[in-house]
């Protein structure tokens, strides 16, 4: 997977968390996720289809998810309830939708978001396509945006 496919997701994430949610977010160097199941406890997932295929997963620890969605909704949530899960889905929806404007090589359709919680779930990543993890840290904890996108030959 080419680096140029990662940057749109990095830019979209920084725009969302830093510029829109006013969080002091630091992004680390993207790396190849050796264990594609090594994610945090709460993950929002969007599938990418159309002229390429892939998936994007936004993954948080439980407390980080609650606090970031509280910031998004301007309402304090105390537990990982339906609205927090809904908010996680909306966050990954924004990242995937925004990234499309910089992915000019192909037309992409994004799926409706899904959200998974727990400690032993398995993501069905596109077969044979590596997963690149972009790590982030902020005052609410660490999180990651994970991208798997098939190259166009």
């Amino acid at each position: 997977m080419q680096v140029k496919y990662i940057n749109p997701f990095l830019r979209a994430s920084v725009n969302l968390f830093k510029d829109y949610l006013d969080l002091q977010v630091e992004s680390g160097k993207p790396f190849l996720l050796k264990d594609p199941q090594a994610l945090y406890e709460v993950s929002g997932i969007i599938g990418l289809a159309g002229e390429t295929r892939g998936a994007v997963v936004l993954s948080f620890g439980r407390e980080t998810a609650i606090r970031i969605v509280s910031r998004l909704a301007k309402q304090e949530y105390l537990a990982l309830g339906n609205e927090v899960l809904d908010g996680v889905g909306e966050l990954i929806n924004i990242i995937a939708g925004n990234a499309k404007q910089d992915l000019l090589e192909f037309r992409i359709e994004i799926s409706l978001p899904g959200v998974i919680t727990g400690k032993n779930y398995k993501i069905h990543w596109p077969e044979g396509v590596p997963v690149v993890c972009i790590p982030f840290s902020c005052e609410f904890g660490d999180f990651s945006v994970n991208v798997s996108l098939k190259d166009i030959a």
């Binding site: 969605v69 909704a73 924004i94 939708g97 925004n98 499309k100 409706l112």
Partner: protein, 123 residues
């Protein structure tokens, strides 16, 4: 004027409702729906003066909703603002062709959104 917020995210519906209320819109004049199909049903029972519509939704998505609502004579010219994360140029073109009045890419802060929709609220 009644405003219909159409978004499958409960959080986004809450955010939009709060922005409209801060602008002085009465809570009772803000209706909401979680998908395009539900929005069609609400629009058939109420005279909606402004639609705020997401794109990606289950059952009936925003684009199909716009095409369906535009086919109803009484809604042929009602302002429809699409508020979506879909930021690709081809999405904007498709939405305009379907009949949206204005296109707004999420995330957008409350004051910026009100700048975009203010003229329709004052109409």
């Amino acid at each position: 004027m009644k405003i219909l917020v159409v978004d499958d995210s409960a959080v986004m519906r809450r955010i939009h409702r709060n922005i409209l209320k801060e602008r002085g819109i009465d809570d009772g004049d803000i209706l909401d729906a979680a998908d395009g199909q539900a929005a069609l049903e609400i629009a058939s029972r109420n005279a909606i003066g402004l639609f705020l519509v997401d794109w990606n939704m289950p059952r009936l998505n925003g684009l199909d909703f716009v095409q369906r609502i535009r086919a109803i004579a009484s809604y042929a010219k009602t302002p429809i603002i699409m508020i979506t994360s879909e930021a690709a140029r081809y999405n904007v073109v498709e939405a305009i062709q379907a009949g949206v009045t204005n296109y707004v890419v999420k995330p957008i802060k409350g004051e910026a959104l009100l700048d975009k929709i203010g003229r329709y609220l004052n109409a």
